[in-house]
């Protein structure tokens, strides 16, 4: 199976892709990705406000993969990765694009999509309130996530979460999240 995200990277290869990763997302991989992207942003003298936003969003995206990915479908080429995910970090005109991809079991799609839709129809002020509500009322789950990652990403970027589910087989879909972190003034 050819993943769209790989095609995307191939298409964009000459177009400022800072990092492409595919495989198991463990703690060491997260460290390595964060260091690589941070060093790159320092090297090109990125302004610190944008740098911090990108770093924050990257932490949440990676830890979302770490805490929440479903196991890979049977027959998928990579059976060794317990937490299989993909990540692209790309420099674009006004900022950075962070794209993640991971398998989601069919049973979990609806809940995830509902969550994203709720965030996307909320105003910036509503997202702030939602963040505070979850912070104050929801316990850390058994998986270790706080349920705040996507809300935080939407809050810090001020942008809608672009996403897609591509069916892999009758049990699994591949979920893409496309996040733009840009320099425009926050509302």
């Amino acid at each position: 199976m050819g993943f769209d995200i790989e095609n995307y990277v191939t298409d964009q290869a000459k177009n400022n892709v800072i990092l492409f990763y595919k495989g198991n997302v463990d703690s060491d991989v997260i460290n390595h990705v964060l260091d690589t992207v941070e060093d790159k942003m320092v090297e090109i003298n990125e302004q610190s406000k944008l740098r911090k936003k990108v770093y924050n969003v990257l932490v949440e995206s990676l830890q979302n993969l770490y805490h929440h990915v479903d196991k890979v479908p049977e027959g998928f080429e990579d059976q060794t990765s317990e937490k299989f995910g993909m990540l692209v970090v790309q420099k674009v005109d006004n900022g950075y694009k962070i794209i993640t991809g991971n398998f989601v079991h069919a049973d979990n799609i609806e809940k995830l999509e509902e969550k994203i839709k709720r965030i996307n129809r909320s105003s910036h002020e509503e997202i702030k309130e939602l963040y505070k509500f979850i912070l104050n009322h929801q316990r850390i789950s058994a998986k270790g996530g706080g349920g705040l990652g996507l809300v935080d990403i939407a809050r810090k970027t001020g942008n809608k979460l672009e996403y897609a589910f591509k069916e892999y087989n009758d049990k699994y879909s591949f979920f893409y999240l496309n996040i733009l972190v840009d320099e425009r003034e926050q509302i």
Partner: protein, 126 residues
């Protein structure tokens, strides 16, 4: 009480909790995958401290980054401080943020609105 002194790492903050001075500090980056593991000893320590706190406790939070998983643990730390404050002891939180970091300022304001302890927002000018 034995103080807590933890050296910072790229993913966890420097921590200094000193019960004899009543000055507590959390500084640096707090982005571990498992934040509960890191913060539980701090919360437990505060639980003991709140039995016999000093009349004044000062808390300095000077974070460069923290992840959402830490944000819940930091709230747990503040809830202990709130209990100390509620028992008629003085508690002051100094929340530091870098001058261009509105997100960090907003994060401090979130806590200020949830926790009934006086917060001071302090801008770090380079």
């Amino acid at each position: 009480m034995e103080p807590i002194i933890i050296e910072g790492t790229p993913k966890t903050p420097t921590v200094k909790f000193d019960a004899t001075e009543g000055v507590f500090e959390i500084k640096g980056r707090s982005i571990p995958e498992n934040s509960v593991e890191f913060y539980k000893p701090l919360v437990d320590w505060l639980d003991s401290y709140k039995e016999t706190p000093l009349t004044k406790t000062v808390v300095n939070i000077r974070l460069e980054y923290f992840n959402t998983s830490s944000s819940k643990c930091i709230l747990d730390v503040f809830k202990k401080l709130e209990a100390i404050h509620k028992a008629k002891n003085e508690v002051e939180v100094n929340w530091y943020y870098e001058e261009d970091d509105e997100d960090m300022l907003e994060a401090g304001e979130d806590y200020e609105s949830i926790i009934r302890v006086p917060f001071k927002m302090i801008e770090i000018v380079e």
